[in-house]
């Protein structure tokens, strides 16, 4: 039996205990971890990052160490084997493919993450400012984006790499230049919708300053979509870099990236050294899929519209 006093006591304890609310971020986290594919993707991604960071410790050879005895004979002697220490075999120059795959993976990840970071910082600020200020400023800022977007960037980047020489820095500059454009558009579109929400109007009406409104009301509501898009941008940038490297214009020897390794492997396809293609290609595909799964999971978890 529940007596009156019990009821009263229950009410009082309810009164005393401060209930902690669950923010939308926490909700999103719960939703994300319920999504099996996304969680699997996340684990794979962590594994790949660990591989890129610490894989070098397990390699028996330096990535640029050339084993002259294997040079040109890698089809017979450079076969992947645990006993020789060349876990993934060797490439045409007798270099250890395991060490080179580790290096390629880390450079590809770096390219993807740098491109995506530039997009987040530059794109979000640019887009949110254009959207919030509106009017003519918005018009001019977005026309600039349109013009930059209409330039065939692959072509310009190839030209730049040819003129200024092939270097990682050039590649980063090139990727940084294009990656933020789409992000700026997305951030602006979002800002326009958020700006017209009643809670922003309420803030304006009470006299909150525009800068505080952007920081307190616009950016937190924009962040979900920015995170999703940034995650999906990483694989896009990796593909972009791979394509450039596949053309032989990307990362320079002795450095390498997954795209460059795939290129080397593909050119040796007829020589019976298929491992040269399959190991880098495997890492490439697994990385991309992991990012896509995580990105999709984040979208389902963060974007309220698709729920």
């Amino acid at each position: 039996m529940i007596t009156q006093t019990d009821v009263k006591m229950l009410e009082e304890t309810a009164h005393l205990a401060q209930v902690r609310g669950r923010s939308l971020w926490e909700d999103a986290r719960v939703r994300f971890f319920r999504n099996k594919a996304a969680v699997a993707g996340l684990f794979v991604l962590i594994a790949i990052c660990a591989f890129a960071l610490f894989g070098g410790l397990f390699a028996k050879f330096e990535p640029d160490y050339v084993d002259f005895s294997l040079m040109g004979a890698n089809a017979y002697q450079g076969v992947p084997s645990l006993s020789s220490g060349h876990y993934f075999g060797t490439d045409i120059d007798g270099r250890d493919l395991f060490a080179r795959t580790v290096q390629g993976t880390s450079i590809s990840l770096l390219v993807g993450i740098v491109g995506s970071l530039v997009a987040v910082v530059v794109g979000t600020l640019y887009g949110a400012t254009a959207g919030y200020v509106g009017g003519r400023t918005d018009g001019i800022m977005m026309r600039i984006v349109d013009i930059l977007m209409s330039i065939p960037f692959m072509f310009v980047l190839i030209l730049m790499l040819v003129i200024f020489g092939r270097s990682i820095l050039m590649l980063f500059i090139g990727i940084g230049l294009i990656s933020w454009l789409n992000m700026a558009r997305i951030a602006r579109g979002q800002t326009l919708t958020i700006k017209n929400k009643e809670f922003v109007e309420a803030a304006i009406a009470t006299g909150v300053s525009p800068f505080t409104i952007i920081l307190r009301h616009i950016i937190p509501n924009l962040l979900g979509i920015v995170i999703v898009y940034a995650t999906l941008l990483v694989p896009e940038m990796i593909i972009f870099e791979s394509f450039i490297s596949y053309l032989g214009l990307g990362v320079q020897e002795p450095n390498t990236s997954l795209g460059a390794l795939i290129n080397a492997g593909a050119s040796q396809m007829t020589n019976g050294t298929l491992w040269m293609l399959f190991y880098p290609l495997g890492f490439f595909l697994i990385t991309l899929f992991a990012f896509f799964f995580v990105g999709d999971g984040l979208r389902d978890a963060l974007d309220p519209k698709d729920r």
């Binding site: 309810a14 009164h15 005393l16 205990a17 401060q18 209930v19 902690r20 609310g21 669950r22 923010s23 939308l24 971020w25 929400k197 009643e198 809670f199 109007e201 309420a202 803030a203 304006i204 009406a205 009470t206 006299g207 909150v208 505080t212 307190r216 009301h217 937190p220 509501n221």
Partner: protein
């Protein structure tokens, strides 16, 4: 009569609307959302503002709180023109006028806790208040509007519509404003909750001696709580008068039609009743009818109605109607 706390003088608000699929150089259309509206609000008074959807009620409210640009006329707060105020002065003034919004959930930032939302005006205007005081004031106010103070760390999406509106009310009241504008505060809520929220508002208004503008799209909500009522149609005032008079003896044909369109709870009486039903649709606000804007739907329309725009004319004690043929 004392000095009005708010007087709106011949206010008009015009929006530029881009025609669809137009060339960039075609001029934008002018939408007169509010036009030629004058009202005075006495301290402690509740003014009901009634009109169909799209009649410019929210726009008028926005003009008063200063979130849409005013294109003509003036708004005086305690005799001081808001239009003439500088930026800083205007920002300071904003603490005296607060608004409760039409959509309870949309008016709360989904990423902020209830406590932060309610405290925002306080933190904005009194940034030096110690955190402890802010929290205790928020707690007190939450209790006052009927929310458990232990919900302070919750987020808006964890509340029902009625509770969200209570949060909105608490936010509007934390700075102890002089004037509160409630823009259809209950039309998005369940009928059972509507009465609770309306009662809460009237109670708070009495306790704190607030002046209030209460917006609704039909008379039934406002008639009990307002001292005077303004009826709007297509951005123009149709009738202004004491609440009782407007509801019992409406003088403007539009108000009469509005009152007649409220269903009577008894089905027999409802069927037996003859009533001048509002026919036709609301004309486009982009191309309002010439003369009296109501003439396309008015049961008493005459040839002269298309001529000059009718002016406000005394139609009873303290009552005015914008129609030369008022009762």
């Amino acid at each position: 009569m004392s000095e009005p706390i708010l007087s709106v003088r011949d206010l008009s608000v015009t929006f530029d609307v881009r025609p669809q699929n137009a060339w960039p150089w075609t001029p934008s259309l002018k939408l007169q959302a509010v036009s030629g509206l004058s009202i005075d609000l006495q301290p402690g008074e509740t003014l009901g503002l009634v009109g169909e959807s799209g009649s410019g009620k929210s726009t008028l409210a926005r003009a008063i709180i200063g979130t849409v640009p005013v294109s003509g006329g003036d708004i005086l707060y305690k005799g001081q023109s808001l239009m003439a105020m500088g930026r800083q002065e205007r920002r300071k003034h904003r603490r005296d006028v607060q608004m409760v919004f039409q959509d309870p959930l949309a008016s709360l930032n989904p990423r902020m806790t209830v406590g932060d939302i309610i405290a925002e005006p306080l933190v904005t205007h009194e940034p030096d208040t110690p955190r402890k005081d802010v929290k205790s004031r928020v707690g007190e106010l939450m209790e006052r509007v009927g929310l458990l103070p232990n919900l302070i760390n919750r987020y808006p999406h964890e509340f029902s519509g009625g509770q969200c509106q209570r949060i909105g009310i608490a936010r509007a009241l934390i700075l102890k404003p002089k004037l509160m504008i409630c823009d259809e505060p209950v039309s998005a809520l369940d009928v059972s909750v509507q009465a609770q929220v309306v009662n809460l508002l009237t109670e708070l208004q009495k306790d704190m001696g607030l002046s209030m503008i209460f917006i609704a799209h039909d008379l039934s909500v406002v008639k009990h709580i307002s001292d005077r009522i303004v009826v709007m149609y297509l951005g123009r005032p149709m009738e202004i008068g004491p609440s009782k008079a407007v509801c019992r003896a409406p003088t403007h044909p539009y108000t009469q039609a509005l009152i007649a369109s409220v269903p009577i709870p008894d089905p027999k009486a409802e069927r037996a009743r003859v009533r001048p039903i509002l026919e036709g649709d609301l004309p486009s606000p982009l191309a309002p009818p010439s003369g009296c804007v109501f003439r396309t739907r008015c049961p008493k329309v005459q040839a002269v109605c298309a001529g000059d725009r009718p002016v406000m004319d005394t139609s009873g004690p303290d009552q005015m109607a914008a129609c030369p043929f008022h009762d």
